[in-house]
Amino acid sequence: MPSLAETVKEPEQLTDFGPPEYWPFLPPIVQRNYGKWKYHEILKPGVMVHVSESGEKVYTVRCGGTRETSTTTTRLLADLADKYAGGYLRFTSRNSIEFLLDNEENIEPLIKDLTDEGFPVGGMAGSVGNMIHTQGWLHCHTSAGDANGVTKAVMDELHKYYVSDELPAKLRVAFACCINMCGSVGASDVALIALHRRPPKVQYDKIRSVCEIPGTVAACPVDAISPKPYNGKPSVAVNEERCVYCGNCYSVCPAMPIADPLNDGLSLWVGGKISNARVKPRLASLAVPWMPNEPPRWPTAVKAVMTVVEAWRKGAKRGERVIEWIDRIGWPNFFKVTGFEFTKYHIDDYRLGETTMNYSNYVRL
């Protein structure tokens, strides 16, 4: 391992020097075989080997963690990297942690240490990846639910599918704490999204001083906000019939708070897909419009997630992602096997809604 001094030098510019050059952070075996990989094989849950055209092999051990990582844990991971992986490690695009080993014999001891420290090893091939999530109540002012708590509760149930490799296909689960969707939820196999469902309450006394009225009016996607003086001063009125609780007005204007303990809740979405394999990328569709926020473990939402996962696991053919399974059995059957109620809210009535109807005689009877 190169010393820190070698890898990162203090930049010459005071600002705008950009992230450190990545090359020195690549393990030497990666540097030697960069761009020369020939094929890979999954050896067992959480372990794979990549074989280079040069004949060299690199073994990857992957484990799950919490994305919110303490410095203590960071140092612990660093120690494991030193012990088994020449001082290198990486994170995946879904917040798992990977150790790249040039020595096959380090696999089992590393797995043992990781397991002892509580890190589940797995998350490859027919398994669930680590759950992508956002900030939630921990840090975000617009959140309609907590991210870390829901994620933990869901992953406790999905743990068994992370450490094994028995799902029909890859499973991507995600959480977003408001419809800004800071992450992958819009195209996840299964996603929970926290929603408001009560119109914002205009703070008439405050709005004039802290918000720009025309900008606030313009922020509403459904024209539910109109300028309306209050006690002779400029303010706005919200048409409650029209409001779809998106919170965009609050994003631009703090005097339109929308968070509400009784009405903020979680919605469930299914069938998103990012890869191009077999079928085109797709956005996820609504499965359950609203479930209550139930800290600390959100049992209703967790159960809903597991209902989908188990129905898919049992019903899907090998290799079928969630959306491929649903497309094969049809949405009516999806609602039948999951027991979720189909409501008018499932029928898209937004801008492009009419493109989502069944314009054919295709029905399973």
Partner: protein, 413 residues
Amino acid sequence: MSNETAKKGKKWETPLLDQLKEGPWPSFVRELERCATTSPRTEDLLGQLEQSYKDNVNHWKHGGMAGVTGYGTGITARFSAMPEKFPGCKEYHTVRIGQTQGYFYTSEVLRKLADICDKYAGGLFDFHASSGDIQTLGTRTDELDPMFAELRKIHFDLGGGGSGVRTPSACIGPARCEWAMFDTLRACQDFVEHYQDELHRPMFNYKWKTKFSGCPNDCDCSGVRSDLSFVGVWKDNIRIDQDAVKKYAEKMNIWEDVIYKCPTKCMSYDEKNGMVIDDSNCVKCMHCINMMPKALRPGVVRGAQIRFGGKVTMTVGARLGFVLVPFYDIEKDKKEGYPFLTELLDRIWEFWDENGASRERVGELIQRIGIGNFLEEIGLDPIPEMIAFPRQNPFIDFEEYYEEEGEEEEQEE
């Protein structure tokens, strides 16, 4: 400064959060507690979070400002709405630190980052935040400049934010993947170095995200989560190792698992002819290659597809990226200093600047004013690769019509 000494007893009872220490998955509550042992502010964060768990609502104030001198972005300012009760959270800002490409680190640099995070923040990281940055949580406004000075020493710069170029990210690519059709890490690094100003001093109408995936498996989610998506692709034929195909045939049903699932059904297999692929109809979905990595390999004429206009919900609904450039010879462009890419972006950004509204992502804008017009402005030809199918309605806005000579006189006969 955040190198406070740890309190002995527990400052806040957290009966609700404690329930999230149970169960097999690693617990973020334990992580918070680990931080809390050395960081009083994170101890208060625990307390405030417990309060949210009781109240079913977050306790942060709306927005607020804080930053590093010389930068317009990189910090998410966050102020508690209950600063009296949780003084440690009064200012609990996030610092976005540009990640290394591919998220590769040495143990040494991680320890150094940890030291800084303990000293100037709440001892708490996001590895990584959703756009790709490393985030530290819990810095106070007056700590931002000193913290940056420390980060600067190990060559870590701030990430993006606001209405500008956001921190781009890349899949692991050639570092460990046999399918990387271009050098995702290099491309991403070159991109972020080139657009430092656009990253750090926002001047656009809204955010701009860029992601690089080495192949259509899109492990970096570029097609669904970025305004500008690069996805590696090949142009020539899939390379077939017929012997290896035969071996797969022994353990899997090639017809059922591979061929029927090819989106254009351009493959066939039998013992006599082996695997036959009509590459002219292959849409590079990766499926067959994914299923038989030892037998099938992408071709060798490689580049990237540029997809464009992806973004999430607000306010017109989420959009995926559509194909803007079906094949971009990125290696060639790189050699010349990226003239194609940088000029394209100049034109796009100029167009966005002139025509876009505030908080209107570029994909929303071009849909509003028409893709055809947009293409004309940025100097790309309309091509059928961009669309799923041509228009199905006759409301065509022809730009010109024929006029008879001297016809004006008759007009109002």
